[in-house]
């Protein structure tokens, strides 16, 4: 009885700690979302208001009226297209590295090290290159850069997933008269569906959340939502209603995506180090 009480007490304490931590970590997100529903009077009230009087969407309405919300569309086009390219090219490359040991460990290590160079050092020369070829502020330019930036991640992750596929399946398919390309398309791709899906999601999120590439390589035409958010920071005053509403428009889709793929989260963000 005593031992049981002690155990329950301990669980209760841990539960209280868990609740406290969760509130602490979610409070900033709550504040961001909540501000987007406030009126200007409530946003600039002193002391700050913790709960808006009513849910009102005028901060969002302004974004749609002025066309600023289109930057979310730009993020979608750029992140979506580059994800498809990176997945197709990266997976075939990963297959070659796994099955034929193409380039050996050196190639694999070179590829992953490409991912680890600070983006600012990559984007500076790329910017100059793009000025020459007129690719600044174009979809193509941004898609190309995101594809290149995400390729190492895709290759690295898909390498892990393809390693998990038993080679006997490929053998059987070859015996059945499949060509090499058919094996890739009809055996490998379907077999690592889950891995493809999980990797694609992360690839998408990286491009979606990127700021520095888009800051340097866009002006007005293809500005993404992360760049747009920073446009509302003024020298003297910040447009908080717009900052928060724009941020929520960009963040909400990500939250939905993550909610549906909890089980892939650990492997995805640990570069495959934790199989989870």
């Amino acid at each position: 009885m005593n031992a049981k009480f002690k155990k329950n007490f301990k669980t209760g304490l841990r539960l209280a700690g868990a609740v406290a931590l969760t509130i602490l970590f979610l409070f900033p997100i709550y504040w961001l979302f909540m501000i987007s529903f406030k009126t200007a009077d409530e946003i600039y009230a002193y002391p700050p208001v913790w709960w808006p009087e009513s849910l009102q969407f005028s901060n969002y309405a302004v974004l749609f009226k002025d066309g600023d919300a289109a930057t979310v569309g730009n993020s979608l086009i750029v992140a979506g297209t580059s994800t498809v390219f990176a997945m197709l090219l990266g997976t075939t490359c990963a297959y070659s590295i796994v099955r034929f040991k193409t380039g050996g460990n050196h190639l694999a290590n070179w590829i992953i090290s490409q991912r680890m160079i600070p983006p600012i050092a990559i984007v500076f020369p790329v910017f100059i290159l793009y000025v020459w070829f007129g690719l600044v502020d174009t979809y193509f330019g941004l898609i190309l850069l995101y594809t290149a930036f995400n390729l190492p991640y895709v290759i690295w992750m898909m390498r892990g997933y393809i390693l998990d596929i038993p080679i006997s399946l490929e053998h059987a398919a070859l015996v059945d008269g499949y060509t090499r390309w058919q094996v890739l398309w009809k055996v490998i791709f379907p077999m690592c569906r889950a891995g493809l899906f999980a990797t694609a999601i992360f690839t998408f999120v990286f491009a979606w959340n990127d700021f520095i590439f888009a800051l340097v390589l866009t002006r007005t035409e293809v500005a993404t939502y992360t760049v747009q958010v920073t446009h509302y920071f003024g020298g003297q005053s910040n447009f908080w209603g717009k900052i928060s509403a724009m941020s929520v428009l960009g963040t909400l889709p990500i939250f939905f995506i993550v909610a549906f793929m909890q089980k892939y989260l650990v492997r995805g963000i640990s570069l495959g180090a934790v199989k989870g």
Partner: protein, 303 residues
């Protein structure tokens, strides 16, 4: 790859099946793109860094190592490097220990455990620039809740200028950084802790080993491979810190919180010191390449 797979592979590579060049066809598109975006600009940066291009002067004549000498004398560059290292060596242990503490809290059964975990990881997927913006809202001296809460506890009217006051800018950036990335550590360490052999832990406890003994002798060696990867990923991320600083202070006040990334951005895209920035970018790439190559040798990343 297990040994039997290798023998299977050899069988597969019979002359009939092997088609020379197939493996190169597979990797060619990826490698070409990586070279266009990775290697070509690198070579170009090298060339530019030996020239004298600025906003006023498109001087492409050979200037030797002038720009590199200038970097050596540039206190602003060394300041930025120092801040970057400081952000990394302070934020990283905080995130690691907080993450480990949180992971310990959730390792055993707890009602609603999955929901807690799902909620706690949300900061990780918020765009860093958005989390910077969020914290600038939270830390606003007048309309933000942080000062309000501090005033409740202090019982007096304080106006803390978080993004302007030199003694408060660092805590402000650390707050945002630690808030966003502690859950990353938490998630990885939780996964690592779950994989520790329970029987071994129980046996040690029965033998009378202390909690500390068990942690250092059994738990730590077991979670170390994952912990090393987590430290590597976060360490490299912190070294490229840009978004949060940009949203909160833009490197200010003055150049107090400038990082390598914000410094390079200002030099290259606001002051248009093209050749000088080229030299800086190249230097960063070289330093980081050594760090990464060294780290990859130590760390087992998805073998």
């Amino acid at each position: 790859m297990p040994a039997d797979d290798v023998t299977m592979l050899k069988k597969l590579s019979l002359p009939k099946i092997r088609k020379l060049g197939f493996k190169y066809q597979l990797i060619a598109p990826s490698i070409i793109i990586l070279l266009i975006i990775g290697l070509f600009p690198l070579v170009y940066t090298l060339v530019v860094s030996f020239q004298g291009i600025t906003m006023m002067d498109n001087d492409t004549s050979f200037h030797g190592i002038k720009n590199y000498v200038a970097i050596a004398d540039d206190t602003r560059f060394w300041g930025a490097l120092f801040h970057t290292v400081m952000f990394t060596v302070i934020a990283l242990p905080i995130e690691l220990f907080l993450g480990l503490f949180m992971a310990q809290l959730f390792i055993e059964k707890l009602p609603g455990r999955q929901i807690f975990i799902a909620l706690l990881v949300l900061p990780v997927v918020v765009a860093p620039i958005v989390s910077g913006a969020t914290w600038s809202l939270l830390l606003d001296n007048r309309f933000g809740p942080i000062n309000q809460i501090i005033n409740w506890f202090m019982g007096e009217e304080l106006t803390l200028l978080w993004t302007i006051n030199p003694t408060l800018v660092y805590p402000a950036i650390f707050l945002a950084e630690v808030w966003q990335w502690t859950p990353f550590m938490f998630l990885l360490l939780l996964a690592a802790l779950s994989a520790v052999d329970k029987a071994q832990l129980e046996a040690a406890a029965i033998d009378g080993a202390s909690y500390w003994m068990i942690f250092t002798k059994i738990t730590l060696p077991s979670i170390w491979p994952v912990m090393a990867v987590a430290i590597l990923i976060r360490g490299l991320d912190l070294f490229r810190l840009f978004d949060i600083v940009w949203a909160l202070t833009k490197g200010g006040p003055g150049t107090m919180t400038e990082t390598i990334s914000t410094f390079t951005y200002v030099k290259g895209f606001q002051q248009f010191e093209t050749s000088y920035t080229g030299a800086v970018a190249l230097l960063i790439i070289i330093i980081l390449s050594f760090v990464v190559i060294g780290a990859l040798r130590k760390v087992e990343l998805s073998r």
